[in-house]
Amino acid sequence: MARNLNLSQCISEALHLEMERDPSVVVIGEDVGMQGGVFGATRGLQKKFGSTRVVDTPISESAITGMGVGLALEGYRPILEIMFVDFIGVCLDQVYNAIAKNHYMSGGRVRMPIVIKTAGGCIGSGAQHSQCLWGLFAHLPGLKVVAPSNPYDAKGLMASAVESDDPVVFIEHKGLLLKRAEDFTFGSDVPSDRYTVPIGEAKVLRSGNDLTLVTLSGTVAPAMKAAEIVEAAGIGVEVIDLRSVVPLDMKTVAESVAKTGRILVVDEDYLSFGLSAEIVTRLIEAGVNLKSVKRLAVPDVPIPGALSLEEVVVPNAGSIQAAIEEMMGKQ
């Protein structure tokens, strides 16, 4: 039975448990303290652990991320909040030139057990507040990239991210954070105790023999919906939730595609030079036989402001269904 909480509460629950378990965990960012995060994902932390371990900062993302580097060098496990992933451009330097590389540049002598906690995805507000950008992080070596689709995974993946000795970019979806657990058709049962979900293992949410649909984060639910709809038309869609972009669980994906022969990647991030092409190419490299391949993603355009425009560039249940039917020659 799903407990009465929303996804952001599941994340704050994970953070509470990690901070209790490990005194080296600190949370730093804008509005994470007194307010408990703009989506409530850090609620209660400052009250419980104090304003020294849960720090409200100025709007200074380069300071926040650089501070994380110094704290990691001091043996802490900083959780750095970048409110929206869209804002990463002001501090990407610390993320990819320091956080991602210090372990390597030091010949393994220092570690960067840092979580960059941020919110991505489109819920309106246009081109500077609607991006996912996991493809950008994934291109840069040294970063693990996680993006959960449901409350159970969100809590368990956050626990894994915090205990990981590697930097983890943890991308929550703005459209899911305030959604109640009971409104999820999968991953809605969230134990109140601590548990972990391993980073790098995709999950087969639905099995089918005709087509493999690979996606993550906010587009998993619409993908499941589309899969149910086309089932009526006798199309068996296997839906895989990647859960992380780095590491990319190609074993699970390849096994499924070996069975179905068809791969549809649905990605709320930009289409080109990103996740979808990497998956297709790794399947080719793995020698998997492909009858049909399709990518459904934001078609290399910024996210427009008006809903009437936004609806046609961001994948949804309707466009996913259409993509499936096109691949099955059913339109």
């Binding site: 451009g89 507000s125 936004e310 046609v312 560039v313």
Partner: protein, 318 residues
Amino acid sequence: MTAGITLKDRFGYMVWMRHFELACLEGVPSREIHGELHTAVGQEAISAGMVGYLTKEDAMCSTHRNHMHAIAKGVDMRSMMAEIFERSTGLCGGFGGHMHLFDPALKFSATGIVGAGVPVALGHAYATRLKGNNAIAVAVVGDGAVNTGAFHEAMNMAGALKLPMVVLVENNEWAISVPFSAASATETIAERAPSWGAHGVRVDGLNVEEVAAAFGDAVQRARAGGGPSIIEAMCYRFRGHFEGDADMYRAKEEKERRRAADPLEITKAKLIERGLATEGELAEVERSVAAALAEMLAAVRNDPFPDPSQARRYVFAE
């Protein structure tokens, strides 16, 4: 430095600004505005204080809380409202949304990234040097933006090159839930100005005459080659950071006390006290403006939505 604008004129602008925001609020529960909406209710005296000093050649770079700045610069309210209400008749055809108002003819632009407008203003200010004209650039930001790296880099260059840039900081004492006092290494923003080779002054942002005088001085200084200025205008955000913000981080007592100091009421009282207008006249101003904006909103609501088939245009120039 009244720029020929009377106090009653400025009151009129404040009324337009207040009621423009109130009209926008109607689009939230109805979901006509499906993204975040940031209003500046309570900060009218600051934008109204800018009126009259700028020409079409002067640039203005604004923020996520930009409606009143645009009105002060003279951006067409009908087109703004249409953009905010996601219509194809909008200032940007619906591609931008409320945080991304662009009016190239008036050299007005806004950004949703805190601090990012200041370097853009720097570019406008530098253009005046290339052109050899006496235009200036204005950046309007909130108190939170002052602590961004972009602010520092742009201010330092403006000071080093002695460029005609005026930075108007709306210090409403909060950056979402973080108080200015906790975020800033200094008590005031104005006192930081010298470290960027700029002139700095703090003013009462509820007092439209005080803002206008300080803004006029800064504009004059910039045009005269006196370099950049920072005006720190103290004010209070009457509503949540965005519509839907529970705003639990500000004490109920504080909110009530601060909202009681309404710049419109303050200005109204002055006008009456000085015998420049009667209660009735000013009530009539408010009534007529409210009516005009209701009419504007009704018209906007009849405008078409952007054509979905156009959504892939404008990524690259055609």
